[in-house]
């Protein structure tokens, strides 16, 4: 059978970047909707944004940026052949992903407890623009949360492979591509944060 006999490192990285482009465009569709509806309902968006819990959002921002640092350091550690450190760093990233999801769960729980969810009586009765804002909020953070989950699982697999030694200084494309995916999750959040939590 035609198995590739050589590893095309640059090709694998190029492929990963192309895939990340598609992720950017996927979220881009939601940002497009956000931009359009913000220009139509600036006051309603500001009022709804004021209701958001800044603490949840800020904590998650700090978690994601820190996890991004950890996985970037893991790449450096593997390149320097420091396996133990790499394993700890990737593991730390996975823990961060879990914390992020817990924080998100608490936040959504709080919002739903206040009667804010798509189609809720409170939103149906309120101004139209606020319902749009919250629907977009749930869709965007939901899709992002799904990516955190996928990224977390991916990095857990990577952590196991680092632990087993099948990812090492000579062959670390799995780690590098997993890290790239994780940075993208961070990158998207960097834009979600001001748009949904800081728009006042």
């Amino acid at each position: 059978m035609s198995q590739p006999t050589h590893k095309d490192y640059a090709g694998a990285k190029l492929g990963m970047w192309l895939f990340l482009f598609t992720e950017l465009l996927l979220f881009g569709g939601l940002f497009l909707l956000y931009a359009v509806y913000l220009s139509r309902y600036p006051h309603e968006f500001a009022a709804a944004g004021r209701e958001m819990h800044l603490v949840f959002g800020t904590v998650n921002t700090v978690i994601l940026i820190t996890s991004s640092l950890l996985v970037a350091m893991a790449v450096t550690a593997v390149k320097r052949d420091d396996h133990r450190l790499a394993f700890v760093l990737v593991g730390g990233t996975v823990v961060c992903a879990a914390f992020f999801l817990v924080d998100k769960y608490l936040e959504w729980g709080t919002e739903i407890g206040r009667g804010i969810y798509p189609g809720s009586p409170r939103l149906v009765a309120g101004p139209a623009g606020e319902s749009v804002f919250y629907s977009l909020y749930y869709l965007t953070t939901g899709l992002h949360g799904l990516h955190v989950l996928i990224g977390g699982i991916l990095l857990a697999v990577v952590a196991v492979r680092v632990g087993r030694g099948s990812i090492h200084a000579g062959d670390y494309i799995w780690l590098e591509n997993g890290a790239l995916y994780w940075h993208l999750v961070d990158l998207v959040w960097i834009f979600i944060f001001p748009l949904y939590y800081l728009v006042l």
Binding site: F21, T61, L69
Partner: protein, 93 residues
């Protein structure tokens, strides 16, 4: 695209992390103190700066060849066109 790898030191990465934290603090501060719709652009500018740091250092783009940079540029321009052209409808309806 060359296949030589560049190792980014822990110190550089940590400095980038500190920068990202500082920018996060700044963007929260700005949102609490500056009023008006103009701060949306301010927040977006800060977010773009943070995104640039993540791409350049965490994602190693600074050390990649011209190809990847060019392709990323094409992608971002495409997204900007999609959003921008839609506004020909939204703004003038």
């Amino acid at each position: 695209m060359n296949t030589t790898t560049h190792v980014i030191g822990y110190r550089t990465l940590t400095a980038v992390w500190l920068g990202l934290m500082a920018l996060t603090a700044l963007t929260v501060w700005v949102s609490r103190h500056s009023l008006g719709i103009g701060h949306v652009w301010g927040s977006l500018a800060i977010a773009a700066l943070k995104g640039g740091l993540v791409i350049a250092f965490f994602m190693h783009m600074r050390y990649e060849g011209r190809l990847l940079r060019g392709l990323l540029f094409v992608t971002l321009v495409t997204l900007a066109c999609f959003i921008g052209l839609t506004f020909f409808d939204v703004l003038y309806r």
